[in-house]
């Protein structure tokens, strides 16, 4: 990594256990700003936990985590709010709030975390829905959306805050190849147009090769490989 490159995400010797089960053991890696990291590994190896640690839904037992230069491990809620304002999280099943319409799902983060006016929120939501191809569906309830539409809606909610760091937990799981490729294209577009750092947990090796700049492979809580595809991470 060149001296000029700044790291958007730094994991420094992070460990996490749930009871007797150690999920992450002494994991360290850095992701330069504007790059896409694909995290691969078998189920139960700590991939999703890594994403949840990055957005502070979980706290590590040991180690430090930095996001965009801010050490988040010991931050209180007020400080975490400032960091989360610049992050987006696409959950595995989109995690849309099923009592709200698609529009309300996307507007909620803007109402809660920004000072935007109602008109500005309308404009942002319309723009993001257009990007993901759901402009005509903004008054629909999540239950009325197909699986692919829900994933795109979840991605749209992650993008409304114009994140500097986008976390995606198995964005293509349960989707056909065409829709999965569309989701991958949206990730690449975020990187190329906005310089967003994207961290994707995936089982889709082909998709990972298509979008990834860096690859991390987890096995039983250990980071067993990290680097570029040509550098030997494969």
């Amino acid at each position: 990594m060149s001296p000029e490159t700044t790291s958007a995400v730094i994991f420094d010797r992070v460990s996490k256990s749930f009871g007797p089960k150690q999920v992450l053991h002494d994991v360290s890696f850095e992701v330069p700003a504007g790059e896409i990291l694909c995290i691969l590994g078998r189920s139960g190896t700590g991939k999703s936990v890594t994403l949840k640690l990055l957005i502070s839904l979980l706290k590590p037992d040991h180690g430090h985590i930095s996001v965009n230069g801010t050490e988040i491990t010991s931050l209180k809620e007020a400080g975490l709010t400032k960091v989360r304002c610049k992050m987006g999280f696409l959950f595995q099943d989109a995690a849309l709030f099923d009592s709200l319409t698609l529009y309300e799902n996307l507007a909620l983060p803007l109402h809660r975390l920004t000072d935007k006016t109602h008109e500005e929120i309308d404009s942002v939501v319309d723009d993001v829905l257009r990007q993901v191809g759901l402009a005509a569906d903004k008054q629909k309830m999540p239950a009325n959306l197909s699986g692919g539409m829900r994933k795109r809606a979840g991605l749209a909610r992650a993008l409304v805050l114009e994140p500097q760091v986008l976390l995606a937990d198995e964005p293509s799981s349960g989707l056909d190849r065409i829709t999965a490729a569309e989701i991958d294209e949206l990730h690449l577009k975020q990187k190329s147009e906005r310089g967003t750092t994207v961290i994707v947990v995936t089982h889709d090796v082909h998709g990972a090769r298509r979008v990834g700049d860096l690859f991390a492979v987890f096995d039983e809580g250990d980071l067993v490989a990290f680097g570029t595809a040509s550098g030997g991470a494969e």
């Binding site: 949840k52 989360r84 995690a95 709030f97 099923d98 809660r112």
Partner: protein
Amino acid sequence: MIPTVQALAFFVEIGPLVAGLLVAGRVGSGIGAILANMRATEQIDGIESLSIDAFKFLAVPRVVACVIALPLLTVLMDFSGLLDGFLSEFFSSRISFQLYITRAFAHFDWSNFIPPTIKTAVFGFIIGTVSAFFGYTTDEGAAGVGNSNQ
């Protein structure tokens, strides 16, 4: 005597008890199921990732709703029971409505109505809190949703 006993029984014990049981069974299980489902589908994680206190956002309004709704439902139960009692008496003895009500409240005091009705607010608090707790803290997954309903 029957209208008097009926009114006292409904207002002091039966109305609050039945209202509490109905709400515990129908509403309490519903609250638990909704919150458990939100936990299982990561909606609560989604809310927390937006720096919203998910417990305040989801559980507190439901507890407040139970506290407010139970006394109102209890009053409805009480008067429903009284009306049913009148209908039963009317078909057996042709008693007039005015006479029935006069006899029902002849020995009735506000202390027979206000404390039992207010105690249902406590029932509502317990029902809302317990069901929200079990729903909110459920293990993830379908089995967790089912377990939180029990």
